[in-house]
Symmetry: C2
Subunit: 528 residues, 2 copies
């Protein structure tokens, strides 16, 4: 991404438990990346009464906002988008607080009502998780939002005061919570969820979860199963896993809860009620799992600007955009990557009757073709390994962990080595190794045919018999470099993948290749 033309959006989110500042560097509609983040536990709702937020709580909030504002000024944020949620919204002294923040700090907090907060949650989630019909749930510190998604759009939203901190403040006095306290919370959760009448009509629909509490539950599970990817994009949290965690939260006192792998220690005191709310919602929907969205209300606010020019601020194709965004963030060579994708796609299509794959596999190949050279930003040597690392670290919103793992491995094996799934053996199976080998072979051929990085090869024709697979290159001139590279570096893998001996030749005659001079032939190591 060309940083000189990028815009810096600072999103300030004053929540009931946590104040956050995230800075996104973005070229609207093109690409974005997180470039800075600060988080402070403010516990704004702590000690809240009918008269509103307590003085110490407001002082903590005020102090954080003052610091965030100065931080934005120092780091030259172009646009500040400040929001406040349930604590400020519900406090009797909320308007006074907002006025004072505007006057003394110069930040105009947009206080989201429950429906608006649910809307931004939905926008955040829809930009990460492809979904037609379903529910988005955001368990915050103060409130819980549920959003009704119909035909891929936000349809309705509701907010209930079932946030993790709100319930803890109201019901939990002992550590760990007593059975009576838990019973009291369960009753309250039931009562408030009953008020969201349309929730009943969504039985069996997809459930997407976001917010700190749910992310933490997912991290606990990802630690438990040794999830091999660096992010939670595409992660699914099972009901069984949440109940296992609830059991732990009920048994362990605070200090031991803080030691649970994956759980933020500053959230250990309020995690139990959040987990209970999630299970209660799953009960109502009658679903066994919740898909995790790393995006939430802040990203919703951000995407409203990023996709301002669209009729609705939602990526039309999450998977396509997440591949592009990654490629653009790492300054991919667009024409080279596109041409490798084109050539790989041409081979994939022609070989269909040999491999039997269809659109889902083609999409993985296309993605890997665009991403295969990412690692060059780290350095030329071993750049295929760096590509794998970068895909693994960033993750690919919209793709399942299995699909992301295959794409990461395809970038790894676009160059050198025998495809091997052992890095992700928890996600992949034996059939995936065959798939990986075939797609990697196709990608490696395409890369060799684009070794000059100049789109010299117009097309490739694949024909075969029972024993021989032949690929004929179409180009204006004799493609000496490409034949040499394909024979040396891709033929063997192609032979392994399609169990035929492999031949490369060319439409254009070898005009420049004098008789008697040694022609390229494979068999020796070449690239280093």
């Amino acid at each position: 991404m060309d940083t000189s033309s990028a815009h810096r959006f600072a999103i300030i989110d004053l929540g009931s438990n946590t104040a956050r500042l995230v800075v996104m560097q973005a070229i609207p509609g093109y690409a974005y990346r997180l470039v800075d983040q600060v988080r402070e536990v403010v516990r704004l709702r702590q000690g809240m009464t009918d008269e509103g937020m307590s003085e110490p709580a407001m002082a903590r909030g005020f102090s954080s906002l003052r610091l965030f504002k100065r931080f934005c000024d120092s780091t030259a944020a172009d646009t500040i988008l400040p929001i406040a949620t349930s604590a400020v919204r519900e406090a009797a002294n909320g308007p006074v607080f907002v006025d004072r923040v505007a006057r003394e700090i110069g930040i105009s907090l947009q206080v989201l009502d429950g429906e608006r907060e649910a809307y931004y949650d939905a926008i955040g989630a829809l930009n990460e998780v492809p979904m037609k019909e379903g529910i988005v749930v955001d368990i915050g510190g103060g409130s819980v939002q549920v959003s009704d998604i119909c035909e891929g759009s936000f349809h309705a939203g509701a907010s209930v005061t079932l946030g993790a901190l709100a319930l803890t403040e109201r019901f939990v006095k002992n550590d760990p919570a007593t059975d009576d306290e838990i019973k009291g919370m369960a009753t309250e959760i039931r009562r408030q969820l009953d008020s969201v009448t349309w929730l009943r009509e969504k039985r069996g629909d997809m459930l997407v979860g976001l917010g700190g509490t749910i992310r933490n539950l997912a991290r606990i599970e990802s630690e438990r199963v040794h999830h091999p990817l660096g992010t939670l994009h595409g992660f699914t949290l099972s009901r069984d896993s949440i109940e296992e965690s609830i059991q732990l939260f009920r048994e362990l006192p605070l200090q031991d809860r803080q030691g649970i792998p994956g759980l933020n220690s500053d959230r250990a005191d309020i995690i139990l009620p959040g987990a209970m709310v999630l299970v209660a919602i799953m009960d109502r929907l009658d679903v066994d799992s919740v898909a995790i969205s790393e995006n939430g209300v802040r990203e919703g606010v951000f995407f409203e600007r990023f996709w301002q020019h669209l009729s609705e601020p939602v990526i039309p194709d999450v998977r396509r955009f997440s591949v592009l965004n990654l490629a653009r963030n790492y300054d991919y060579e667009e024409q080279h990557a596109n041409h490798v994708r084109f050539l790989a796609g041409r081979l994939f299509e022609q070989l269909t009757s040999l491999h039997g794959y269809g659109l889902p596999e083609r999409e993985l190949l296309d993605a890997a073709a665009l991403l295969h050279d990412l690692g060059r930003i780290v350095g030329y040597n071993s750049h295929h390994r760096h590509s794998q690392t970068l895909v693994e670290y960033n993750g690919l919103p919209g793709f399942s962990p299995r699909e992301s793992a295959i794409i990461a491995l395809l970038t790894r094996y676009h160059r050198k080595g025998n495809p091997d799934i052992s890095d992700y053996e928890l996600l992949l199976e034996r059939d995936d190794e065959i798939l990986l080998t075939r797609l990697a072979a196709i990608l490696r051929v395409a890369e060799c045919l684009e070794r000059g990085r100049n789109a010299d090869i117009d097309d490739v024709i694949a024909t075969w018999s029972d024993n021989v697979l032949r690929m004929t290159l179409i180009s204006d001139e004799y493609p000496a470099v490409e034949l040499w590279q394909a024979e040396r570096n891709a033929a063997q893998l192609m032979e392994d993948a399609f169990t035929r001996s492999v031949r490369f030749d060319s439409f254009a005659p070898p005009l420049e290749w004098p008789e008697g001079e040694q022609r390229p032939s494979h068999g020796l190591p070449l690239d280093q």
Copy 2:
């Protein structure tokens, strides 16, 4: 590095054993990086007689050059710098070959005479290994060059026909080589080295080794000791280790030699004579070790252009430049990095009587300050870990492995965590952990004082008693963000490092900080 203004230099090196093409992307005098590399074993000297190179050997060379030329055309190299060394230089039909290459391929090979080859070796080495007086030795396939370095400049060079392939061709018929064959080689090595009369006067001087044979010997050793860095920059190869390898080469037949970790399998048949030559030269100089240069003749040719504007094409300060080159390659934020370096340096100076360190430690701190944020090119989350990885992967020419490891760890611990040397425990010792902790603490304070990335803090004053270390910030306005960050994220490590409780305050009064509002204070987790 801004690639749009960068120049692409393609260096073609037609050696006796190997033909190589390397592509360097460079802004002369500013930064460079390797962006492509192709290598082909041509064995140009194989079967050479008094009449010159054999027809098959020339055909292999011709074929490679033709491919390299087309490759350069495709990938839009701006400048092609083609050289040929001993095989072409010594062959009776060398001039005919060169003419034909120029006429039919359009490449004007510069055939280096022995002294010129030794000159480029020296330029390559001097741009990587700081050296005043010493010898550079390059063991190639055909010839061996020795360069005499006086007062940091190339003084004289000589070439003898003791290359690994040349000796193998002439003396070795059996596998593994017999005692008689080894004796014959030893006699020939002695005879030819005697001809370089000035070598005797260099007894005890530093020896730097380069070229494929020596790099391979170093890689074998680095595998043997599990060297934890990603490169051989700063690596020292001991005489004992070379003799251990020679013993292996003498005992094992080719197939087993090819399995030696670190040895290129296509070099296993010619590695023994090269190792013998190196030991013979060490004997003459009476030295026990050879410093490895990853740069060689190709880089010498490249640096002649890169430093064309200097009186001599040698980096005035290898260490300083290698830090800058790395920072520039990863688009560091120059002003932020410089200001962190400045503030860290100010603290280091003032705290001298507490830590007792001097210029060598200061240099490590300065380097880490420039490199601390490298990992941001990968992504914001965990960028301190990425910084360590990037330093480890690239290495830092001019620094010893121990120094490089400390710099890598300083970038790691500029943010979060308790400094720990276990990643490099083979290189570091207990005292280094104390050094690391102190320098990391200073760097972390400097980073927090530059958290706004805008040079808001003009200076810092450090004063202390037996129990308290106080740091007073100088700035135009009250530095709320910096105090907050320093107290939260750097105070604890500073306390550990200097065994005093730590206080931060400010010259500028907290004008904007209303009475009764909570001031920043450390103790809670903050950044995520």
